[in-house]
């Protein structure tokens, strides 16, 4: 990696997101010094347009930061803060400081917004909301009387009904809302499908990061672990397993680039869907191979491989799994028909 932004991100995460920090976060210790360092570096605002408090980074640069954060298993809501900021900025709302997240994230969860005398009445339940317990505010995409509406929800206006976690120990909480909001609600420029796609795009980028980490750990381990008198990486069976893994890592990186392009322009559901589905499949294949190459040590809590693989196994299901997104892609292709298939794939 040669560009200065990526280099400084590598250094920052190496310094502040070590194993002890990742472990402590799983026991409920929010890594405040890491988070503060991210804010100082401007990374949390990287996806924001400059008029909304952004730092002038491109979408590609923001996604590169996210990929590096994921490679370090950084236990912070960076993706969610970027996503919430993006949603608020798209809707023309101010973006507050601090850790942010979005809701709802599950297909069946709906938050409803009705007009009240003194503002907006927001009600409903949203499950598996990432990092809700740590968020300074939640950007919600609610069903309003005039269609999808974006509103900002502060911690004193929702109840943390259940503290849940994903397989990697990242908070995924249930919130219930029955509150009257002040004026900060605005018509959303899009509906729940686009928010889901944006979520899928950032998870795709994170998968690419965690997968590259699983690959480099596996390659390093194969070079030092000696069995039958030589490093196991000298055995052809192991070499070919790791070559397959490298192929999946490359596919995941390509998917991350596709997702990044889509996020930067128009959020084309076909491309986001293809990216999330391809990355999810890569995650499944590569996580299995990484553990196979590591043997028993990779299965222990002490060794760090699971920081990457438990994230892969979580993120592949969040914001839509492979079946859901491949279904979206397939429907688009079948609707285009045999003569529309290739033009659809090659459209810029």
């Amino acid at each position: 990696m040669s560009d200065p932004l990526a280099d400084s991100a590598e250094r920052l995460f190496a310094a502040y997101a070590g194993k002890a920090v990742v472990r402590a976060a799983e026991h409920g210790v929010f890594p405040q010094s890491l988070w503060d360092a991210l804010i100082r570096a401007g990374f949390t605002a990287a996806l924001l347009p400059e008029h909304a408090g952004g730092v002038g980074a491109t979408v590609a640069e923001a996604m590169a930061l996210l990929r590096i954060a994921a490679a370090h298993a950084a236990p912070i809501p960076l993706a969610e803060t970027m996503l919430a900021g993006w949603l608020l900025a798209e809707a023309g709302l101010p973006v507050p400081e601090g850790a942010l997240t979005v809701a709802p994230v599950r297909l069946r969860d709906v938050l409803t917004l009705r007009r009240a005398e003194d503002g907006w009445h927001l009600t409903g339940t949203a499950s598996r909301v990432p990092w809700a317990r740590d968020a300074a505010a939640i950007a919600v995409l609610a069903e309003g009387p005039d269609g999808p509406t974006v509103a900002l929800l502060h911690p004193d206006s929702f109840t943390l009904a259940r503290r849940d976690r994903n397989l990697a120990g990242e908070p995924r909480d249930t919130i219930t809302v029955d509150t009257v909001l002040a004026a900060d609600a605005a018509a959303a420029p899009f509906g729940p499908a686009q928010l889901r796609a944006a979520g899928a795009a950032v998870r795709t980028v994170q998968i690419a990061g965690a997968l590259s980490r699983a690959l480099s750990l596996s390659v390093q381990y194969a070079q030092i672990r000696v069995q039958f008198g030589r490093p196991i990486g000298k055995f052809q069976a192991i070499q070919h397993s790791l070559a397959v893994m490298a192929g999946q890592a490359a596919a995941a990186l390509a998917a991350a680039d596709m997702a990044t392009d889509a996020l930067a322009g128009g959020l084309d559901l076909l491309r986001v869907g293809a990216a999330k589905a391809r990355a999810g499949e890569a995650a499944s294949i590569a996580a299995g191979l990484a553990h196979q190459a590591h043997g028993a040590i990779g299965f222990t809590q002490e060794y760090e491989l699971h920081f990457a693989t438990r994230r892969l196994w979580s993120w592949r299901d969040e914001f839509g799994n492979e079946a859901e997104w491949n279904g979206v892609v397939g429907r688009a292709v079948l609707a285009a028909g045999p003569d529309g298939l290739w033009p659809l794939l090659t459209a810029a």
């Binding site: 490298a246 499949e281 397939g330 292709v333 079948l334 028909g337 045999p338």
Partner: protein
């Protein structure tokens, strides 16, 4: 990890304008061709079609104009290649020459060789075959035993080449053989020669057909007995054959023919399933498309890296391994989505015919141009494991 760097494919508005031009050409040229003919794609040879492409300037696109080329970008060339493959155009006559033999001659050939051969390739009027594999030398190319010995007025070649696709139709073969001692260096003492097949037939070179399991004639055995090769048949430098052949394989492995070989079947599946297909079919078709989009991104990235003068041999191996897996997956996926028993007999429905063609050709996808095992070995070396 450096090997996983795939540069962002450059955006090129000119290449997209060219895409429209190619599509109009294909709309005129392709309607008479059946889905089964389209499935053959670059295995299908049609000299008249190749000449028309040559007239359009779509062969040897990146080569200098003084050799009949057009000095277009690698991405322009990529657009033409992928449009031809997606449509299943019969590009086999010039495919090998355009993909690897021409670039090899451009890089290593003498001025006379370039002037004599490259303009004919670019015109679509000259076909090449690859004289690499032998009876005891397949993946292990360094085990080649065919030998050319220096004699007065040239070289005297003896040996046997095997699995030589298209040797019965080609104008030239690039012959890889031993010219020197190999003791202690398996890669040393090899050279490449340009063999004029028409001239060589009857004076030491015999082409014998080998039918594949479909009954089709692509492969050949090429027997070489005391074939006199003139001095100027040497391609590149004596003893540099191994380095030259390795560079040639990078061209062979990076192009979109390494993931679009089953695209005709995907097209027919979309036709047969229709927009009201069950969810199971949408998911399965969507998966193939998701893989195709990711591969196309990787493959275009390799084209961009070639354009930038980089050496993406490793990236090319990754793309080919992933691409061949997708091609073979396509066959196994589609057959479970449609009610079609594969058959290429006359009168078979298009889907059954294309399926039959691909069931019987798919095993070759992960063999030709470097087996899956060879590619994974290259990737493992890139990872630092070998």
């Amino acid at each position: 990890m450096q090997m996983l760097t795939f540069a962002t494919p450059p955006v090129d508005a000119g290449a997209e304008a060219l895409r429209g031009e190619v599509r109009r050409f294909l709309a005129d040229e392709m309607p008479g061709r059946t889905p089964l003919q389209r499935a053959a794609s670059w295995s299908g040879s049609d000299p008249a079609f190749s000449r028309k492409m040559g007239e359009r300037g779509w062969i040897g696109m990146t080569w200098p104009k003084r050799y009949g080329g057009h000095e277009r970008s690698a991405l322009d060339r990529y657009v033409v290649l992928e449009e031809m493959l997606a449509a299943g155009a019969p590009v086999g006559h010039h495919w090998i020459a355009d993909r690897q033999s021409g670039p090899s001659i451009l890089r290593h050939g003498t001025e006379a060789q370039r002037q004599q051969i490259l303009p004919r390739i670019a015109a679509g009027a000259c076909s090449f075959c690859i004289g690499m594999s032998e009876p005891d030398s397949g993946s292990d190319l360094a085990a080649a035993r065919t030998r050319a010995q220096r004699v007065q007025r040239g070289w005297l070649a003896n040996g046997t080449k095997l699995w030589t696709s298209g040797a019965h139709q080609a104008d030239y073969m690039i012959l890889f053989c031993r010219t020197g001692a190999t003791e202690g260096d398996r890669h040393g003492g090899a050279s490449q020669f340009l063999v004029d097949i028409e001239q060589a037939r009857g004076s030491g070179l015999t082409v014998r057909p080998i039918l594949d399991m479909r009954g089709a004639h692509h492969f050949n055995e090429v027997v070489i007995e005391d074939l006199l090769l003139p001095e100027d048949a040497l391609l590149g430098r004596e003893g540099d054959g191994w380095a030259q052949v390795t560079a040639e394989l990078a061209f062979e492995r990076s192009s979109p023919d390494r993931f679009l070989s089953a695209f005709a079947l995907l097209t027919e599946a979309v036709r047969a399933l229709g927009p009201a297909a069950p969810e199971r079919a949408a998911v399965a078709v969507g998966r193939l498309v998701s893989h195709t989009l990711a591969l196309r991104r990787l493959s275009r990235s390799v084209a961009g890296m070639l354009q930038a003068g980089k050496d993406p041999a490793l990236q090319a191996a990754l793309v080919k391994d992933l691409g061949n897996t997708l091609e073979q997956d396509t066959v196994e996926t589609v057959r479970l989505l449609v009610d079609a028993e594969p058959s290429e007999e006359d009168g078979s429905p298009p889907l059954a015919a294309v399926l039959a063609h691909l069931v019987l050709t798919a095993p070759s996808f992960s063999l030709r141009g470097g087996t899956r095992e060879i590619l994974r070995g290259i990737i493992a070396r890139g990872l630092g494991l070998r």
